[in-house]
Symmetry: C2
C-alpha cells in the first residue's frame, strides 16, 4: 500500500479511478484512462502505484471514507430512519447513472477477487464496513426499543445481500419492476422487526 | 442466434463454455480456451458462432434448461420444501467449487451487460426464469394454504436478490460467516410468511 502519497493527491487519484470505472468498467480500464480523469500525469500514477490494480485498491480504500461521509450527512437521528436512508444510499437513486456504473464496476471487481489478491483484501474491508454500518443502526434500534431482539450482524448481512444482489438485475440489466419490488419488500422486511408499540 | 447447431452439439458447446468460465472467468476467456474444453475444434465453434459472446449467450440459454432439470430432480412435492431446496440449489453447496466459479463468472457477465447487447438479452431471460421459478413455488404455497397471501412475484424478486447478492461476499470473497448468516436469515424469512397453522 503506497503510504507516501499526500492525502489530497490520494483523494484525487481515487476520484479519477471512480470516474474511469464508471465510464469503462474494470476489464477495459488502463492507467492511461485513469490519468485522463485527473490532472495528475500517468508518470505520477506509476511513480506511486505499481499497477492498475494498486490504483483500484486505493479507490476501494478511499470508498470506505466516502461512504462514511455519506452516512454522516444523513440528517435523521433515529435508527429506523437512518437504516432506511442507508439502504436508499446503497440501492442508488434513480437517474444517478454514474453511481450505478460504479456499483456495477465494483460487482465486476468482486468477480475478479478469487483470481486477484490485490483487490480481495480491500473488497473484504469494504464489504465488512457496509455490513457493520447496517448492523450498527440495527443495534441502536434494539437498544432504543424500536426493534425486536434480533441478531444485528446476521440481519445486516441479509439486508446487505439484498442490496448487493440488486446491482445485477436492477442496475446492470435495468429490470425496473425488480427494483420497485425490492425497495418495497425491503421496507416491509424492516417493518417486520419493528416492535409493535414502536410502529 | 445460431439455430443450425444440432441440439447435442449445442449442449456440448454450452458445457465447454461452462467449464472454461469456471476456470478462467469471462475477461480472459478466448474461443481457444473454450475449444480446449470440448472435442469440437475451434473451426467448428467459429463456423457456428461468430464471437466469444455468441458462445456465452448459447451457454446462458442452455443454463435455463439445466436449472429446469435441477428443479425437476428435487424430490419434495410440497411447495415449502421445494422453495427451500430451490434456494439451496441457487446458493451453491459448500465444496462445489466449479458451480461457485460459474456463479462468479455469471456475476462478471452481469457487470458487462450494460456494454454488451449480446449478453444482455439471455441474462434477462435467465434472471426472469429464476425469479419465476421462485414465484411459482410461492404461488403454489399460497394456493395450498401453506403461505399467507403475499405477493409472489415481489417476494420472489426479494429472495432472488439475496441469492444473487451472496455471490460476491460468500462465493467470491469466501466470507463464510456471511454465508451462514444468509442461509439462516433466509430460512427465517420464509418461516415468516408460513401460516401459523401450517407450521
Amino acid at each position: 500500500m503506497p503510504s507516501d502519497v499526500p492525502p489530497a493527491a490520494r483523494k484525487e487519484v481515487a476520484t479519477a479511478v471512480r470516474s474511469a470505472l464508471a465510464k469503462h468498467g474494470y476489464a477495459d480500464l488502463t492507467t492511461n484512462l485513469i490519468a485522463a480523469e485527473t490532472e495528475k500525469s500517468e508518470a505520477f500514477l506509476y511513480y506511486h502505484y505499481d499497477t492498475k490494480d494498486e490504483l483500484i485498491a486505493a479507490f476501494l480504500r478511499e470508498s470506505v471514507g466516502w461512504l462514511e461521509h455519506r452516512l454522516e450527512r444523513i440528517e435523521a437521528e433515529d435508527p429506523d430512519s437512518r437504516l432506511r436512508a442507508l439502504c436508499d444510499v446503497l440501492l442508488v437513486a434513480d437517474g444517478d447513472e454514474t453511481t450505478a456504473r460504479v456499483h456495477i464496476a465494483v460487482m465486476e471487481l468482486l468477480a475478479h477477487a478469487p483470481y486477484n489478491e490485490t483487490l480481495r483484501d480491500p473488497l473484504i474491508t469494504y464489504q465488512c464496513y457496509v455490513r457493520d454500518a447496517i448492523a450498527s443502526e440495527i443495534s441502536r434500534g434494539i437498544e432504543q426499543g424500536t426493534y425486536e431482539e434480533i441478531d444485528p450482524e446476521a440481519t445486516a448481512s441479509f439486508i446487505h445481500m439484498v442490496l448487493d444482489g440488486s446491482t445485477g438485475s436492477v442496475l446492470a440489466l435495468e429490470m425496473d419492476d425488480v427494483g420497485r419490488d425490492v425497495r418495497n419488500r425491503l421496507s416491509a422486511y424492516i417493518d417486520g422487526f419493528r416492535r409493535e408499540e414502536a410502529s
